[in-house]
Every structure is written in structure tokens, then in C-alpha cells.
Symmetry: C2
Subunit: 662 residues, 2 copies
């Protein structure tokens, strides 16, 4: 048990480093680190299971600073406990280009940072995914190998964001008892007192979502410790509202919004250090406190070594599986299984929706991939994501691999990030393509973090028909293609669907969207090819019968239209090529000579896609013909819509012919 | 008071029409209309203030079907109460192209539909904006002219979506006592029983957010009526959880997910009609019931006529203002005020951030525009949206015009839609540009509905600096430009900012995004011009000194870089034009000859924008030079970032020179 004096000095070291770091950077947020230093000190010194020497130890407790703007708290903790990469020099380079201490925590930059936070609410929702992954992995491999907690520091902002509702409802429903949220209840936001904008009773709200919740004085270490100790034995997730003073110690700014997001200034900083009886210069940590913090960072070493012995003692099969799963390798049988499926599809030439083709792929590969954690935001029968033998996860049994996420697209995507970051799983989540808008902020974090997740986005165009424009994506392909490191596939038939899934399942450096149809499509890929033609983003599906006058580029359900137009044009003596473009942005990343070869030099370039033109000019040019959408869609049977919006082979033929003759 | 027998027949008419409509369309959702028919009958027959003969009567109660998939309930109500455009033929054309009865309610298609719903959670959040607008307008014009309720039917899906949290927290905080939510508590979602995915105690949850909440039997008209009567006298918003049976009456499918989203089928439909003792054929309504419903639709006529007399009796000034506000006309002085500001800016040539320039515009125009309801999602000091004399709205006083939305970007954008749809206000809401991702689903509905709202999106690029990639938009300009009917301006200096605001304030058919910088920019528009140069989306800012070799296209903060590059190129004897592109998508909507003239025929085309290339090929072509971002950003001082990512005049000069010499 730490004495109050020692506790204060440990906590003040966090405050001092945080103030100094922000001051030197002339930018940053001192208020949260100063306010939550006591809580963080209690958590790290008494509870958190970790070993600073091995930030990737699989059975460590996860600590998520959902309030990412308080990053200096996290960097101070990582530095003081001895994480190798967070040196004092890095603390001094806070918020500088290429430092290990960026403005908000970035897990791909700094070992010890579990997830990238800053966009509010998402740290909490990602932690829900981590806590779920922990239970699922424990159900599979046993608590000898998997037995840890997920702790979150969340701010008022995290709890005002809507995603917090989705996250806590899901966690409460699943009774994720290893999840403990420490809420920085400081009553201040950027505009001023929180009471300007919010009066929610957070304790009651969490209880309504099935959590245990309580209030403590966040500056009373014994009270905080008692609350955390209780929380660890609960049968459900726990929220502890820690009443704190933002900018604790700052003589004038403490308890005000002025402490939140800017340096204290020299005078106020000096006043704060005096008030805290911290007599040391900038970035100076006295030896006794440095040693005490370092000891905290080493506290978990024995536990880690014991865990490693348990792993080493596990049966070879278990050990190999566990390691493979955590490394994210896929079984060798995956490739042949996809190839066999492609062969079968070509032989049978089914006319099916690509969402149905996706289901066939899942039926084939899921048995090989126990790491697949698939789910849907309450559209399971429409997304075709649940395989025949899939068992659902529930609060009493985490051995299932199907997740009923509820009508929570954003919460689903954030939880998927947490599941992926935790390790051991490849999450795939489904909804309608149009609702990528709801999930988008978490999809962006997946792309930024390079998380391997798969979005199964069905009903990918006006082809969904009667539900109308609120449910018909038209700009979503463009919006997703524009996002760095997001890969979007819109397969044209069942074979391309299998290839797209293969690429998604084996991608190690980021997320993949599969945009799939509701409506049936004929099989267009009739020739067996061992290689994955989707891997280049675009390829010639059907050559011209002679020197080409036109090239018809299309994706997904419109490739069928391109092929039909090609035939009709041939009847008029106009030779056209068809290029299938399952992934426009992947194609635009290919070497320039590859792009030029696929684009070709036919004088007339046409793109056909039941979506907006935006982005296609990179292929067809300003003068290219675009057959697609220029407005939102409409409600009606899908064939009527295609006819009304002029996305037909006849329209393509007419426009190519007019251009050819003009 | 309606007898139980009469009530049942009124309600069963809704059920029968809904079943028949879905059956004929072979598509749609019978479950909600059948489950909520009793509640809707009570609401419309006893409480809702409306006159079917005048769907746009400003003082009508608003009814929002947040669970938009239950659209047949709404169409049945509109038809039976006598809304002219919803004829029986239109009911029979449910979900057909160009009918008045699309799959989800579309306010721009069907008079009587208050807002477009379907994307779950948003109807509720939009209704919060309507209820807020009612109180604000009442505070200004008095309850003689403004005195109505907003009623919402919400489903489990609405309440699972995160935005519901933002909405109810804001409504509870502001004590919007004229807001009454009828929750269709049917325990069923698409995947199956709600208990698969959700166990939130909704009554407790709403109470935690400051609402009154209760549970009633949704099939007991007296109980529902008593609960609504109580709700109307409450001092805060009220949620009534109505326990219902989805698909009420259907012998086999009632109470199951099979009743939710597909036609009942002939046999089940016949069984349901038998169970309900409804002896009539498809689309047949007996005369007595038709008359009773028609009388309900006429019940409000007297109240409307009294209201019109009160309006006519109001002072001329009040009347003119009120009518102008509801029509959405802007005062004539707006144009000259903007012109005068432009003149002043040109004279003073300030070097300021465009967020600061935006503040100057607001200081100039807000005194003219009492309809402006401005707010921020807790970034007021950063967004520069609060003018000096602005007074905040709060629960005790709705006469203010500044709204502290809290950290609720999505809730803010949806509330803005509701404020705009209610009428009387022009909402403007602010956050960081990167968080348009959070607000995007509501921004999309604004674009679809053609709602006039303004998004003040500051910190619009890596120019925000130290906060890092989580806070730096790079794909957001492209993602917003791709959205139909969304107008995006990224002004290059203070004069363009004034012009962009002018266009935003006078736009009547849709929303506008203003993408504004954190960092200072020099004044580039030095010549006084009366016309609004931003109105065409792009214009030549600086001609070449001779026959142009290159055209440099740029937007926002990068126009300064283009101008600097132009000067450096001139020193090397290379003539370049600079084209400012404050709105790329607006430019691409101009007639082809206008586009060609602005694009020009200089052989080298360069686009400079601190964002992704996606979309720019429409101007510069596949071979054009792009100086911008290809990845996410990084944390650091913004000048370091511009240098690191090569977005500099030197980089432009180097690449143009290389191309010129190559």
C-alpha cells in the first residue's frame, strides 16, 4: 500500500511532466493529466497488470485513454514506468513531427499506446471490443492464457458522444465484467462549465445500460482504490465517476475551461508547482520518484514470466494456434479453399447476388478460420453473414463467433477495431452500404491504425430498390475510396466476390470494404484463372473484337451492363473492350505503366457505375462518358430505377454511338 | 371521447391499409403500422393539432415517424385524414417510382410528412430541433402565434442508435417540454428478439437524461390517452414506452421478426383481417370509418382559422417579419452589408485565419438576421462562431440565439435539420472539419431534403498542426464534394470567406459547408469586385504574365502557395495562371464552355490542395500534377507539416519546371 505522501509525489510527477511537456510544445492539454493524475497513479501502481519491458505481452491489461487529448498523462506514465521508446527526450518533443509523443495517442507510433484516440467516444467503444475479445479468447484458450482487464479513462466528451451509448449498451448487454471505466467527472468542457450543455446523470445512465456505477472523489486514492478493487470482482462492467478538478493544482486555472486545452503559461505553471510542493525544474524527476515509478513498470515482470511458462507448457497445437492467431497469420489452406470455390462457381455459373456469393465464401472459409468474429448491426438476414453452424456470443457464453451488434453501426465498427487491436481475431461486420456513413469515424480510425477488419456492406446501390434514397448509397463508394488506406472492393460476380474476400482476409495493414449487391448478377468470370485478378484493382474482362473504339470501365453490378453494351456495340460494328474495376483506388495505386496498359488508348472512354462520377475522371478524363448517378436515388423496384436513371446497356450504346458518329 | 369499438375500427383501418399497401407493393414493413395503430389513432384522434387541408400551417403540431420504415402507418393516416396528395391510388402505388408514397417518408415528396426518416435515430434527433425551434420562435413571437407540440414515434432501432443519446441529452438539458416521444416497445428487431442485442432499461435511461418517462400498454387507448394528456402538462420532455405487439393481429407472425419487414402473404393477411374482424376487401374502407377519419382531419380547421385571425391582427412589423422568416427570405440589406465588408477587408488587407474572417462576417450580418441560430459542438472558442452580443439559449430562456450543442456533432447536425424544417430559422453549426464524419449521416439528410443549413467547419487541413492525424481532415473535402446537393466552399482569404457566407446565407435548396483555416492567410483578393466570384466555383485569380505554360488550381490556404509559386516561376521565365477554386463541385456543375474557359489550355495543369487528389482529375486530368496529401497527416507545428508533406511553393515550382523541361 502506497502512503499518501508517496502517492502524492507519484501523482505530482505525472502532473509536472505533463505541464512541462505542454508548456515546451506551446500546445496541448494540461487539464486532464493534472486532474486524473491521482486516479492514474492508483490504477498503475496498484492494479494494472503490465510489464513496461514487453508492451506487446498478450495477457497484459489494456489501458485506453479515451480522452486522447490528455495524451501527456499517458506519455508521462509510459516514460516513468520505463517504456523504452518514450524517453525524456521524446517527452520534450511532445507534439513535434516524428516524435513518439504526438498530440493524440497513436498506437502505430508509440509502443504502450493500445489504440489511437482523440475522436471522442471511440476509445471507450474500442475498449468494449477489446474486453469482448478478451472474453472470447479466454473462452477458447482458457484463463491460463487469457485473463486480463480493460481499463478506460473517459471524459465528459466521450460520454456526450452518441457512440458512448452504443458502446455501453453493448458492453452492459454482454456483461463484460473485465471492463472498468474511470470517468473524469470534472464538470468542465471547452465552452465552459459542463452545465452549459449537459445535465445527464451518468451513474443512472450506466445503470440503465446494465452497468454497476458509483461516484468517488477522484483525488482520494484510497477511495479510488477501493472502487477499482470492487469493480474487479463485479459480474458486469463498471463505471466509476471520479469527481476531479481539471488542472488540479493550478492556482487560477484549476476548475475552469482555461486549464483544458492550452499551456498554463510560465506564471501559472510555477504557481501550480508551488501549490503541489513540487520543487523541481522543467522535466526534472527526483531519483526516489523515478525509482518508485520504474518499480511500478517492473511489477508485472513475474506475472509475465509465469504466463510465458504456462504458454510454453501448453500443448503444441494450442501454442501454435494461439501464436498464429495473435500474429494474424492465416492458415495455408485458405488459398486452395478459395481457388476450389472459384472453380466450383465457374463450373456452376450461378446467377446470385454478391451478398449471397459472400455467404458462399464464408461457408467455405469460416471452418478454417476460428479467428473470424463476424457480426451484423441487426441486418443478419439481409447481409447474409451468419453461416449455418455459427453460434452467437452472449453474456453467458463467449465461445460463439457470431456477434449480434444491435442497431449500432458506429459502435460495431469501433468494437471491431478493439477486437482487431486486442489480437487473436479477424473481425468482420455488416450493415447496408449507405450506413457506412454512421460507422465512418471508426472506419477512418481503422484505416489510420492499419487495423485488419472487413466491412460487409450489402445493398450497395440503387439496386436495393424500394427502400428509396435514404437507403441507397450513391456517394459512398467515392467517399470511401477517398480515404487513405481504406480498400474498397465492389465485385461484379461470385468469382470476383471470392477474390475480394481473399484479399480482405489476407490484408495485414488495413481495413477492407466489400460492397455487395442485393440483386442477382450473372457469372461473368467464365475462365478459370489461378491468380487473383482483383488484386490489381482493374483488369480487362472482355477484349474488343477488333481495334477498340471504346473502353467500357465498370464495377460491380454494372459490369453486366458493360458486357451487354459491348455485344450491342459489336452488332453496330463498334469494337469495345470491357474493363472490370473491382477496386478503383487500388488500381490508381498501380505503377503508371500498368495503369496505362489497362486504360488503353481507345478514343472513347466510358465509366458505368450506379454511383456518382466523382473520382472516375482519373480513368476516363474530363471528356469521358459517365453512365451513373448525378443525384440521390428514388424509391421503386430496382429495374425501374436503373431505367429511370439511364444506367442501361442501351444508354451506353446510345452515348458511345453518338460520340463515335459525332 | 371515442368508444373502444370506434377506436378499434379506426385503428384497424390503419392496419388494413398498411397490410394491403405492403402486400400490393410486395415490399415494405407491416409490423410497425399494425403494432402502433392504436397509439397513432389515439394521438391523431384526440391530441394532434393539424388541419389536413393545410399541411404547412405554421402552428400545427409536428408528427415525426422516426421509425421511417413504418411509412405505411403515416401514409394511411395522411390518406384517411384527407391530405389531398395521398389518394387511395397513391396508397396503391406504395414504393413505386414517383409515387407520393415512397418506401420511407420523404418530406420533399409528400405534403404532411414533416421530415425524411429511415436512417434510424435521426427522426428523433430532428424532432429535438423542431421542438427547440418552436420554443425559440415562441420566445420571439409569443404563444399566440407559436404554440405547438412535437410528437415522435420511435422504435427500438431509433433508441439503439448513438444519436438517440445525443438527442435526448440535449432535449433533457433544455427541458423541451413540448416534445413527446412514443416509443414502440415491441421487443423485436430484424435479427430476432431484441434481447439478442439489447437490454437497456429505456425508462431509466430517459430519466437519467432529464426526461419524464413511463410505461403503458400500447394497445390500451385509454392508458395511452392518459399518458399523452399527462405528458402535455409536463415541464420537460416525456417518453412514453408503449408496450405493443409487432404485427398486431397477424395470427402467426405477430410478435415475431417475421412481421417486421416483408409482406404478410395472402394467407396471413386474411388471417389478420379475420382476427381483427375487418371484413373488407383490399384497400376498402367502410363509409362510417372513412367519415370518422375525415372528421379527425378537419378537427383542426377552427384552430387554424383562429390562428390566422391572430396573425392578421398582429402588428404589421411582426406579421411581415414572421412571414419573411417562415418563407426563408433574407433581408435586402444583406447584399450591401456583405459588399461593404468586402470593401473594408480589401482596404485593410488583414492577414487572418478564415475562421476569424468568418467571425467578422458573422459580426456584420447577425444583427440583420434574427433567424440565425448559431451553435457549436463545444468548440466555440476555436470555431469563432459566437458573436460579441450573442446570448445563449437555455432551459429557462429561449430568447437567445446561440446554442451550446455539447460534444454532439451528429446530434447538432440533426437538430439543425429540425430547426430548418420547422421554419423561422437559418441554423449554422460548427465543429472541426474532421468531425464532419461524425455528423455526416445528418448532413446527407440535409442534402437530400434540400434543407438550408450552414456548417462552419474550421481547422480544415493539416494546417491545424499539433493535434495530429486524428484531427486533420485529408479526405473530407472529397467525401463532401461527392455528396449530391452538398455545397462545399473552402475560401482562400477573408474576401472569399465573405462571398462564401453570402452564398450560404442565400441558398434556398440545400446545405453548405464552409471549410475554414485555423492558420492565418494573407488577403489575396485585392481588387474590389461587386459580383460574387465564388458563385461559379472557380475563377482566374491571377493571370499569367504571358502565354501561360501552366495553370495552378488551388483552394483555401493553398491559393497563397499557388500565388507564391506563380511569382517564383515567373522569375524562371515560366508563365503561370492561378485559378482559385473555392468550390470544386460547384465549378464542375457549370456549363461545359465556362469550365473549359476557366481550365484553359496551358499544357501543364497543377492542383494544390492539402487534401487527397481524389476528384481533382476532373480539372487537371490523369497526367496533371497534384501537390497535396496522399496519406493521413501527422502531429507537429503546421509549417513543419507543410514542408514535410511537400505542399510548398518550392515543390510546385520544382515539379512544374521538371515537367516543362522534360
Amino acid at each position: 500500500m502506497t502512503s499518501q505522501v508517496e502517492h502524492d509525489r507519484l501523482a505530482n510527477a505525472l502532473r509536472a511532466l505533463s505541464m512541462d511537456g505542454v508548456e515546451k510544445a506551446k500546445s496541448g492539454h494540461p487539464g486532464l493529466p493534472m486532474g486524473m493524475a491521482d486516479v492514474a497513479t492508483v490504477l498503475f501502481s496498484r492494479f494494472l497488470k503490465f510489464d513496461a519491458a514487453d508492451p506487446s505481452w498478450p495477457d497484459r491489461d489494456r489501458f485506453v485513454l479515451s480522452a486522447g487529448h490528455g495524451s501527456m498523462l499517458l506519455y508521462s506514465l509510459l516514460h516513468l514506468t520505463g517504456y523504452e521508446s518514450v524517453t525524456l527526450d521524446e517527452i520534450k518533443r511532445f507534439r513535434q513531427l516524428h516524435s513518439k509523443t504526438p498530440g493524440h495517442p497513436e498506437n502505430f507510433v508509440t509502443p504502450g499506446v493500445e489504440t489511437t484516440t482523440g475522436p471522442l467516444g471511440q476509445g471507450l467503444a474500442t475498449a468494449v471490443g477489446m474486453a469482448l475479445a478478451e472474453r472470447m479468447l479466454a473462452a477458447e484458450f482458457g484463463e491460463d492464457l487469457v485473463d486480463h482487464y480493460t481499463y478506460v479513462i473517459a471524459s465528459d466528451g466521450d460520454l456526450m458522444e452518441g457512440i458512448s451509448h452504443e458502446a455501453i449498451a453493448l458492453a452492459g448487454h454482454l456483461k463484460l465484467s473485465r471492463l472498468i471505466v474511470l470517468y473524469d467527472d470534472n464538470g468542465i468542457s471547452i465552452d465552459g462549465p459542463l452545465s452549459l450543455a449537459d445535465t445527464v446523470d451518468q451513474v443512472k445512465r450506466f445503470e440503465a445500460a446494465g452497468w454497476l456505477a458509483s461516484r468517488v472523489d477522484g483525488h482520494d486514492p484510497q477511495a479510488v482504490a477501493a472502487a477499482i478493487a470492487d469493480a474487479r470482482t463485479a459480474d458486469r462492467p463498471v463505471m466509476i465517476a471520479c469527481r476531479t478538478t481539471i488542472g488540479f493544482g493550478a492556482p487560477k486555472k484549476a476548475g475552469t475551461s482555461k486549464a483544458h486545452g492550452e499551456p498554463l503559461g510560465a506564471e501559472e505553471l510555477a504557481g501550480a508547482k508551488a501549490a503541489l510542493k513540487w520543487e523541481y525544474g522543467p522535466f526534472e524527476i527526483p531519483t526516489d520518484i523515478a525509482s518508485a515509478w520504474r518499480a511500478i513498470g517492473e511489477r508485472g515482470r513475474a506475472a509475465r514470466e509465469e504466463w510465458q511458462r504456462r504458454l510454453a507448457a501448453a500443448p503444441q497445437n494450442t501454442r501454435d494456434d494461439f501464436v498464429r492467431r495473435l500474429v494474424g497469420e492465416r492458415p495455408k489452406a485458405l488459398g486452395p479453399t478459395i481457388s476450389a470455390l472459384k472453380g466450383k462457381l465457374i463450373a456452376e455459373a450461378p446467377s446470385i447476388a454478391t451478398r449471397k456469393a459472400s455467404e458462399l465464401v464464408l461457408e467455405a472459409v469460416v471452418p478454417l478460420l476460428p479467428e473470424m468474429a463476424i457480426g451484423s448491426a441487426d441486418l443478419t438476414p439481409s447481409n447474409n453473414t451468419r453461416t449455418k453452424t455459427a453460434k452467437a456470443v452472449n453474456a453467458a457464453d463467449f465461445s460463439g463467433r457470431y456477434i449480434h451488434y444491435g442497431i449500432r453501426e458506429f459502435g460495431m465498427a469501433a468494437a471491431m477495431n478493439g477486437i482487431a487491436l486486442h489480437g487473436g481475431f479477424l473481425p468482420a461486420g455488416a450493415t447496408f452500404m449507405v450506413f457506412t456513413d454512421y460507422a465512418r469515424p471508426a472506419m477512418r480510425l481503422a484505416a489510420l491504425m492499419g487495423a485488419s477488419v472487413v466491412y460487409v456492406m450489402t445493398h450497395d446501390s440503387i439496386g436495393l430498390g424500394e427502400d428509396g434514397p435514404t437507403h441507397q448509397p450513391v456517394e459512398h463508394l467515392a467517399a470511401l475510396r477517398a480515404m487513405p488506406n481504406m480498400r474498397v472492393f465492389r465485385p461484379a460476380d461470385a468469382v470476383e466476390t471470392a477474390e475480394a474476400w481473399q484479399l480482405a482476409l489476407t490484408r495485414k495493414d488495413g481495413p477492407t470494404v466489400l460492397a455487395l449487391t442485393r440483386q442477382n448478377l450473372p457469372l461473368l468470370r467464365k475462365e478459370p484463372v489461378e491468380s487473383n485478378l482483383c488484386a490489381m484493382g482493374a483488369y480487362e474482362l472482355s477484349p474488343a473484337g477488333g481495334k477498340p473504339t471504346a473502353t467500357l470501365f465498370a464495377s460491380g453490378s454494372e459490369v453486366e451492363i458493360a458486357v451487354a453494351a459491348q455485344a450491342q456495340l459489336a452488332e453496330k460494328g463498334i469494337h469495345a473492350r470491357v474493363v472490370s474495376v473491382p477496386s478503383l483506388e487500388l488500381f490508381l495505386e498501380q505503377p503508371e505503366d500498368v495503369q496505362k496498359a489497362v486504360i488503353g488508348d481507345a478514343p472513347i472512354k466510358v465509366a458505368i457505375e450506379a454511383a456518382v462520377r466523382f473520382g472516375w475522371d482519373a480513368v476516363i478524363g474530363h471528356d469521358g462518358i459517365f453512365v451513373g448517378m448525378a443525384t440521390f436515388g428514388a424509391s421503386g423496384p430496382y429495374k425501374d430505377l436503373y431505367a429511370y436513371f439511364g444506367i442501361t446497356a442501351e444508354s451506353v450504346v446510345e452515348r458511345v454511338t453518338a460520340r463515335h458518329n459525332g
